[in-house]
């Protein structure tokens, strides 16, 4: 056999930030960074829906996200060149997805059903059905079907409301349609032949107005 046998290089273990380092990084955040972090956390709560959030708001999400950077499963590796903000935004995204996943797997748990006071229903005998009656139901029960139907109706109503609020703005409508299709920013820009400045101007307008529509919709 020719040549030297390949020896796998031992990987140097990454150094996770200590809680003091996380604290210092949090204290050093700029005003733009804290704005971005908060707005993204609000966005993620809207994305997973209030039922998956189970009574927790964006501040709870932030708190749990930063704790997860110390405790795991996510960590911030300051020597890797990833900024604290970037890492925290990633933790916010993955934690909110985990909340949504938990809700999906435990849809008929009282933790989630208990939030849906508007969906409390009376049984055929006129008795108010307890959410605890649904524990360990093997298949979606009447309540879960009702919850899901309400969610879908709300989703349609909100998506339509956002789109309708731009009925006077052709460029914004096209960009929103691109979002609906799941296209990325660069794909939408290319399809609509927009310059970066034009795209940024339109998306800022969308952001502002859509946020207002969503706030009104959720009564915030």
């Amino acid at each position: 056999m020719k040549g030297k046998p390949k020896v796998a290089k031992a990987e140097v273990p990454k150094r996770a930030a200590t809680s003091d380092e996380v604290l210092r990084a949090a204290e050093a955040l700029s005003e733009a960074e804290t704005e971005r972090i908060e707005q993204f956390a609000i966005n993620r709560i809207s994305r997973i829906g209030r039922r998956a959030a189970a009574g927790r708001d964006h501040e709870d999400l932030l708190q749990d996200a930063v704790t997860s950077l110390i405790n795991g499963p996510r960590h911030w590796y300051p020597d890797d060149g990833v900024s604290f903000t970037e890492c925290l935004l990633g933790a916010i995204r993955s934690l909110s997805s985990a909340w949504a996943g938990h809700r999906k797997r435990n849809a008929d748990s009282p933790r989630y059903a208990g939030l849906d006071s508007e969906l409390s229903f009376r049984s055929d005998e006129g008795r108010l059905a307890s959410p605890f009656e649904t524990i360990a139901a093997p298949a979606p029960n009447a309540e879960e079907i009702a919850v899901r139907a309400t969610e879908l109706a709300e989703a349609k109503k909100l998506a339509d409301a956002i789109l309708d609020s731009f009925s006077d703005d052709e460029a914004a409508t096209y960009v929103l349609m691109g979002f609906e299709d799941g296209s990325t920013g660069p794909e939408i820009r290319a399809a609509l032949d927009m310059t970066e400045t034009q795209y940024r101007t339109v998306t800022r307008k969308i952001q502002r107005r859509a946020k207002k529509t969503m706030d009104e919709f959720y009564g915030r």
């Binding site: 809680s19 996380v22 604290l23 949090a26 204290e27 955040l29 700029s30 005003e31 733009a32 960074e33 804290t34 704005e35 971005r36 972090i37 908060e38 707005q39 993204f40 966005n43 993620r44 809207s46 994305r47 501040e59 932030l62 708190q63 749990d64 930063v66 704790t67 110390i70 405790n71 935004l89 899901r148 139907a149 969610e151 879908l152 989703a155 349609k156 909100l158 998506a159 956002i162 960009v175 929103l176 691109g178 979002f179 609906e180 299709d181 799941g182 990325t184 920013g185 940024r200 998306t203 800022r204 969308i206 952001q207 502002r208 859509a210 946020k211």
Partner: protein, 148 residues
């Protein structure tokens, strides 16, 4: 559940994802400008968000501290319960400790970090350190020099 209904749900999810991307890709100036346009004071937001993060980290540090204290208490209790054959006098224990330090040089940094000079160690400190070493079964290898 029909495809149409599911599509409405996915439609909204994609719109919100698009809005999220706008937040992530905006420049710092755009982020601050948006805040002002929406009547938010970035300085107030910053103070509030930092407060949330600070409280979360400090509360986590408290949890770690409590766990460390519990660990220390367990260690102290284990030392108190264990019986060691240590010299009966302070002078004898100090001699044993100095012998251990010279015969187990690999442990010197651990002790010199905590105690800049061995002379500063009190009799109680010496006894605690010897108990720690005995607990780790390090003293059985140490030979005390015979009296001249």
């Amino acid at each position: 559940m029909g495809d149409k209904a599911r599509n409405d749900s996915e439609r909204l999810a994609r719109i919100i994802d698009g809005l999220g991307d706008i937040i992530l890709n905006a420049t710092d100036d755009e982020i601050l400008q948006s805040a002002l346009e929406e009547n938010r004071n970035p300085a107030d937001t910053s103070a509030r968000i930092k407060g949330i993060l600070r409280r979360a980290v400090r509360s986590q540090q408290q949890v770690e501290l409590i766990a460390a204290r519990a660990g220390y208490r367990r260690q102290v209790a284990a030392m108190a319960e264990a019986t060691f054959e240590l010299p009966k006098t302070n002078e004898g224990r100090r001699t044993l400790f100095m012998a251990a330090m010279s015969q187990l040089p690999q442990f010197q940094p651990a002790f010199t970090l905590q105690n800049r000079d061995f002379k500063d160690l009190s009799d109680e400190d010496i006894e605690v350190q010897l108990r720690k070493m005995a607990l780790l079964d390090l003293l059985s290898q140490v030979k005390v020099p015979e009296d001249k």
